[in-house]
């Protein structure tokens, strides 16, 4: 993390809808540096009169994909930057960014410990970068993702996670849908609780490295639950998305 971070002008290469509220923006960076899975970029918007707004967004893509980054962004209705990203920005537009940023909530595929990822809603984004990096690096460390969403339609990257899961390279994916489930659903159907954490985390053992990302309440409950299961706080890294920072 020793380079000075400078703003650069990226070009929007592609915009892909993921769910009703989430779009992925692929940005081509003139000054791309390989990031670590879990890091983020800052976006800065400037109006004609000089008014500026800045927000941070986690990188969704793996560092193995050179020259560009994916940012998957949820639209917050009364937000300031996300509505601009969703409703105004088009492919070919340019946008000012700075990064990659973040030196703690990061995972590299050279790590040996089993990996537990716990996501709530759009908290999946930095964890997806870890999952994609793991796949690109052909790592085989036992990994389990527990992902909480409201309904099946709110699950971001559902098909890709299915594809990665069926590779049987040590990645397992557990979904819980808390508000409604499709017919024939065999996954969990409630908020993350101790029983669920025990079932998902236990096979990974006592040395698991844990990353939890999502709304504050989910993160608090999951982190506290895992500490009660016997994991040390130092094994658990958290990132909390508030309802702010839109």
């Amino acid at each position: 993390m020793k380079q000075a971070l400078e703003w650069q002008i990226a070009t929007v290469k592609r915009i892909k809808p993921e769910t009703a509220k989430v779009k992925t923006f692929t940005l081509a960076l003139p000054d791309w540096t390989p990031h670590r899975a879990g890091q983020h970029y800052d976006i800065r918007l400037t109006a004609e009169d000089g008014y500026q707004a800045q927000r941070s967004y986690s990188i969704a893509s793996e560092p193995e994909r050179r020259g560009e980054v994916d940012l998957s962004i949820e639209k917050i209705d009364d937000g300031e930057v996300s509505p601009y990203m969703h409703d105004v920005l088009v492919e070919g537009d340019r946008i000012e960014v700075r990064g990659p940023i973040g030196g703690y909530f990061v995972w590299q595929a050279t790590a040996r410990e089993p990996l537990l990822l716990v996501a709530g809603g759009s908290g999946i984004v930095p964890l997806m970068a870890m999952v994609r990096h793991r796949a690109a690096a052909r790592a085989r460390v036992p990994t389990r993702l527990l992902y909480s969403s409201r309904t099946r339609d709110d699950v971001i990257y559902y098909d890709e996670l299915e594809t990665l899961r069926t590779r049987a390279d040590g990645l397992e994916v557990f979904h819980t849908l808390t508000r409604g489930q499709p017919a024939g659903w065999t996954g969990y159907t409630r908020r993350i609780d101790s029983a669920m954490l025990t079932e998902v985390a236990k096979p990974l053992g006592k040395t698991a490295q844990v990353f939890i990302c999502g709304p504050t309440l989910l993160v608090e409950n999951a982190a506290n639950g895992l500490v009660q299961l016997g994991l040390k706080p130092a094994q658990i890294r958290t990132e909390r998305f508030g309802p702010t920072g839109a």
């Binding site: 941070s56 300031e80 105004v88 000012e96 504050t216 608090e220 890294r237 702010t244």
Partner: protein
């Protein structure tokens, strides 16, 4: 200097004129109180809680929770800014000024900096000139209630004029030092000083 890049079609939300000059560059006002921590919230029992001042002082001091509550306290209403871009105006706290705490020790001539350290192993570094003369306090109440654990309770450091990662949650002491030693976030990509008015975010 090249003209700033203008984002096509962006007009943004405008802040109220009277508040505009209270919001540092790159920040936006929130009415929420977001919780951000690197790991799980530590649980600290009041019977085990202590606060100490050590390092380059003639004699270190330590207070228990009961002793700490006996110290002269004040109400503070301050604006706070987090490096993750939110600013909260007019937050109200009750606590003990660092001037009051430091008056209980005799600083070594060489003591120019301090490291604040917390119950979960967290550290952050500050120049002494940034924490004296009413600029910092150890708070144990927020908004008229005991400080909640997610927000750093039983007590946290509050240094409102710097980015809020300097306001160490679950603080348990200050170590006076000769040199500025990068703490937890300062060693993980964040600025050694952290002045929001100069946007000292990253290293």
């Amino acid at each position: 200097m090249s003209p700033p890049f203008i984002s096509r079609g962006f007009s943004g939300k405008r802040r109220q004129a009277d508040k505009a000059n209270r919001v540092p560059p790159g920040q936006h006002v929130t009415n929420d109180f977001p919780v951000l921590s690197a790991g799980p919230t530590p649980r600290v029992a009041l019977e085990q809680w202590t606060f100490s001042i050590e390092g380059l002082v003639r004699a270190p001091v330590k207070w228990t929770w009961q002793q700490f509550l006996q110290l002269p306290s004040q109400m503070f209403t301050v604006d706070i800014s987090c490096v993750t871009k939110w600013t909260k105006l007019d937050t109200s706290w009750k606590g003990v000024s660092l001037d009051t705490l430091l008056a209980h020790v005799e600083l070594d001539r060489k003591a120019m900096f301090l490291t604040a350290f917390s119950f979960d192993g967290y550290t952050t570094n500050l120049p002494i000139t940034d924490v004296i003369n009413g600029q910092a306090f150890v708070a144990y109440e927020y908004d008229g209630k005991p400080l909640a654990p997610e927000h750093g309770g039983p007590a946290r450091l509050v240094v409102p004029h710097l980015y809020f990662w300097k306001s160490a949650k679950w603080v348990r002491g200050l170590r006076l030092m000769e040199k500025d030693k990068a703490g937890f976030w300062e060693s993980a990509g964040y600025h050694i000083h952290g002045d929001p008015w100069k946007e000292e975010r990253y290293s």
